[in-house]
Symmetry: C2
DNA sequence: GTCTATACGCAGATAGAC
DNA sequence: GTCTATCTGCGTATAGAC
């Protein structure tokens, strides 16, 4: 059985840990420990070891993100609603740290695989948002040219909210609400900070 | 001599490597190798080992960033110029990955130190931009309330540009220019994507 | 599919010579 | 200030029993 129940449990744990800490910072014992087996048993499911796990897990993660992002977009008809829905999805998932992927995870694995995964990440994360913006432009909702760059910027902006610690209080004693922050940022992106007459 | 020439060379290398790869992914041999000494010699300068190096190096990095950001701001009188200057500074430096700091670096060191460094990072990176925006608001340049959140968003947006690979060409055969991308994003942030009549 | 046992190398750290 | 030598523990990986 190529995708047994046990194998799935391993993938689930590994996906979360790799997403949170990155390739190098996760050990096989961490994964095995959370699954509830010995680390040597992982080699039964992934004979080529940690790197194989990371690659499979990253692919699975990307496919799930693509589905999540696209269904968020499909639920709304306007750019504002769509962007906020995408933000809601992204904040419901473990962080995807593209900086770490580029500078730390990818250099640690086989170069060909690294290139392929980087491409996959770009297609998964940026392309749907880019398309969303282009459709909005076609409908006359928004103007401006560099929608590819802007898609990346939106993504970075939303993703950075993962670094604000949750379930604590800010210095104003206001509880942190990442979704509300995302809405604020998207509104600014759409309406601009400069006063309109 | 507390801050000898040799110690500074170690700090320089360590600062770059920790900034690029994070605490766990950097080994003492990596650092010693680039300095040109044996890893055991590092303990002469940093008796408490890797964690001491990381803490000192992070503090130094933050102090340099605060100076760089503040002098960028001081060079301009308007929000648009100031934000672009800050972006220029940030893109001239090794990436500061706040997501990785939060989810990977900080959990790996002493909790008290981790908390202190997280505070320092927030003060260094967010506070000057927050202040910049408040001044712009006071001058009547911009409107809107949640300037703290917006400062964080700008930072995340600019920082994410560190994950676009440089010295390659995009799929359009257009060379990557991070500074130009940053300017595009800042203009969008100020003017908004929505058409103005 | 999971286990125990084991090999091997690497990372962090210490002692003491020069 | 830097070295060599050495210790200890951990992380990856393999072999083979159950």
């Amino acid at each position: 059985m190529l995708n047994s129940e046990a194998r799935q449990r391993v993938l689930d744990v590994a996906e979360r840990l790799f997403a949170e800490r990155g390739f190098r910072a996760v050990t096989l014992k961490d994964i095995a420990g959370e699954v509830g087996i010995r680390h040597a048993s992982l080699y039964h499911h992934f004979p080529r070891g940690k790197e194989q796990m990371f690659i499979e897990v990253t692919e699975r993660n990307m496919h799930r993100h693509r589905a999540g992002i696209e269904s968020a977009i499909a639920a709304y008809g306007d750019v504002r609603g769509q962007l906020k829905a995408v933000a809601g999805w992204l904040l419901s998932q473990p962080p995807i740290d593209l900086i770490r992927m580029t500078h730390s995870d990818m250099p640690a694995i086989d170069a060909t695989e690294a290139w392929r995964l980087s491409e996959l990440a770009a297609e998964t994360m940026i392309e749907p948002i880019h398309t969303l913006l282009q459709s909005g432009q076609a409908r006359g909702e928004i103007e401006h040219g560099d929608l590819g760059v802007i898609a990346g910027g939106v993504l970075g902006m939303i993703g950075s909210l993962h670094s604000v610690p949750e379930d604590i209080f800010t210095y104003n004693n206001v509880p942190v609400d990442r979704a509300a922050m995302a809405h604020t940022l998207i509104d600014v992106m759409l309406d601009g900070l400069i006063k309109r007459e």
